[in-house]
């Protein structure tokens, strides 16, 4: 049975050895040599230090292409033309499914044809030396971004390869990403990843870990995202992680977003050990984007403005081509610069918005209830408790495809555009919190002259791509907004 206990050193080595045999490149992942390589990196490539010492929100895009030279070019472009402060390397889907053979085929095809048949950088196939070449070739620190439930071999190779930050976590890379992965098993896999990061940390290489805050990316109530971040943070620190960046995805309501980021930081500091440095990352809107670059720039602009008010440590930017999938590098750099302009024009302004503390208090109370219920279900063990709470639906994520989650929770916006809970399932929240949500949703129902129902959910899912925040009846009804490129407006975006 899974337990929130530190993996012993010999077991870590044993598992690592086993993993390294799974693919030929594993053999090069020597821990001592890796520590030496990390030690050779200049301070400007120390991910944790750069992020934690920044005096303004740092910007980071998403980006990954199959071939090494293309990935180097892409990252250099995003540094020089986008002004990215932190760099990503997004991993391909086959690697996320641990299908290294298929990833190899895709990489070979890409090398032969020059066409990219993979949707990311297959780091395991590239191996340790290629990763080090990548890290050496750029100026900023680089993070591995992926979506892999079992990311153990990926971590072994990429951390040995000089990456100093690793995205994901057992809940956030399982519940929103897969159907059949067992949550307890995924927790064990991530305990290995975190323990490996901890081993580097013990040797002075403080690997940054970043649980994926946006979850399903679609109207996730802030308290749910925050509770998942705290639980993943607790599991990670048990294994020795000391640099944690907790994430949150923009919902589009300014007060709620600022309140949520403050709650995330506050609860992160309250729940996680004192020797762990907690930072926060704000993801620009992860739901459906308008099928129009100009309106998409507006969504990105609101993200930048919100970041200027909330001042997270990091912002993951979107591109104006979000609607059509993977953006060109030019569009990717554009998203960075639009965000940067908003932040730099606003961040020195003293803009105090009313009501943030009240919303923050509501979010914190709800998130605490979820976290403490989960821990109680494990009799004090966060790992067991997480599994049990998801099984009972006391912890739940809306629109989760995973069989490990009840996915009974349904969110809807209130009359002010804040994300509330319409269907609770068994979610473990206090009655008075439920009442607040219900009162707010009733207000909206009255405004719209309709009953509180799942129809609001459906309307809200599409609202931003239709050019609004709230899915009011009679809007977003299929009549194309100006600039619409036609085609159905996708209400869901693939998480990360």
């Amino acid at each position: 049975m899974v337990r929130d206990e530190r993996i012993p050193g010999d077991q870590l080595r044993e598992t690592a050895d086993e993993l390294r045999d799974r693919w030929p490149t594993g053999a090069d992942a020597d821990f001592e040599a890796a520590v030496e390589f990390h030690d050779s990196l200049p301070p400007s490539k120390r991910f944790a230090d750069v992020l934690e010492s920044a005096d303004r929100p740092l910007l980071q895009p998403r980006a990954g292409v199959p071939r090494l030279d293309d990935q180097v070019d892409l990252l250099r472009y995003l540094e020089s033309e986008g002004g990215a402060d932190l760099l990503p390397t997004t991993i391909d889907s086959y690697t996320r499914d641990n299908e290294y053979g298929k990833a190899q085929q895709g990489l070979d095809d890409a090398r032969e044809s020059g066409e990219d048949t993979l949707n990311g950088f297959p780091a395991v196939n590239h191996g340790v030396d290629a990763c080090r070449d990548l890290v050496r070739s750029v100026d900023a620190p680089v993070e591995v971004r992926h979506g892999t439930p079992d990311a153990r071999l990926l971590a072994v190779v990429t951390l040995a390869g000089g990456f100093e930050s690793f995205e994901g976590g057992p809940i956030s890379y399982n519940i929103p990403y897969t159907k059949e992965h067992d949550l307890a098993e995924t927790i064990e896999h991530w305990q290995f990843v975190d323990r490996l990061c901890g081993a580097y940390t013990e040797r002075g290489v403080r690997i940054n870990r970043e649980p994926f805050g946006p979850l399903t990316g679609t109207l996730v109530p802030p308290a749910i995202a925050i509770a998942v971040m705290i639980l993943e943070g607790l599991l990670a620190t048990t294994q020795g992680v000391r640099s944690l960046t907790l994430g949150y995805g923009q919902v589009g309501n300014v007060v709620q977003d600022v309140a949520a980021l403050r709650a995330l930081r506050g609860l992160g500091e309250a729940y996680l050990p004192d020797d762990t440095v907690v930072t926060t990352v704000f993801h620009e809107w992860m739901g459906g984007f308008p099928p129009d670059e100009a309106r998409a720039s507006g969504v990105i602009g609101l993200g930048g403005a919100t970041a200027a008010l909330a001042r997270p440590d990091k912002v993951i930017t979107k591109s104006p081509q979000e609607f059509q999938g993977v953006p060109t590098r030019e569009a990717n750099a554009s998203g960075l610069r639009t965000t940067r302009q908003l932040i730099d024009m606003m961040v020195e302004q003293d803009i105090v918005v009313d009501g943030i503390d009240r919303e923050r208090e509501l979010i914190e109370r709800t998130a605490r209830s979820l976290v403490e219920t989960a821990i109680a279900r494990g009799d004090g063990d966060a790992a067991r408790g997480t599994v049990a709470a998801f099984e009972s639906g006391e912890l739940d994520v809306p629109f989760a495809p995973s069989d490990s989650a009840a996915a009974a929770v349904l969110p809807a916006r209130d009359d002010d555009g804040r994300v509330r809970v319409l269907e609770w399932g068994n979610l473990a929240v206090p009655d008075d919190v439920r009442e607040i949500h219900e009162t707010r949703l009733d207000e909206r129902a009255r405004t719209e002259g309709r009953s509180r129902s799942f129809r609001m959910v459906a309307d809200d899912v599409d609202a931003i791509s239709d050019g609004k925040l709230i899915g009011r009846p009679g809007t977003g009804d299929g009549t194309d907004a100006p600039g619409d490129t036609g085609g159905p407006a996708g209400g869901e975006s693939d998480a990360d």
Binding site: K179, T216, E423, S453, G490, G491, E492
Partner: protein, 148 residues
Amino acid sequence: MGQTVILGVIGSDAHVVGITIIEQALTAAGFDVENLGVQTSRAEFVSAAEAHDAGAVLVSSLYGHARQDCRGLHERLAEADCDAVTYIGGNLAVGQDDWSETAEHFRELGFDRVFDAETDPSAVVAALERDLDTTVTETATDRVRVDS
């Protein structure tokens, strides 16, 4: 033919929002719904239809590979002696294909009704009420999209 409605996203597709909303609409309308979730294989649709004596099988696909994913589904349902009505809905082809041609293709595969991604869940409810000839809780017909 029973009254249970089987619901799922076929193939490797993980778009969950649409069927979540359809499930809510059908449940609110009084149907017994068995939601198989995302990434459901043809075999899983068939065995669920058999196990529940399904009255209807509703297939969702948003990622553009519905043609391949649905190939042989109706033959397997027939082999299992399942006489459920079958609907499919979503983004049923990659790119900007002609819709009437796409719809015709899926009707030829055996689907009784074909819905596009802009379909209002209430339209699905109304169709099921006719096709299953059942009395269910009355439902409003606000337009709601199911494109995700």
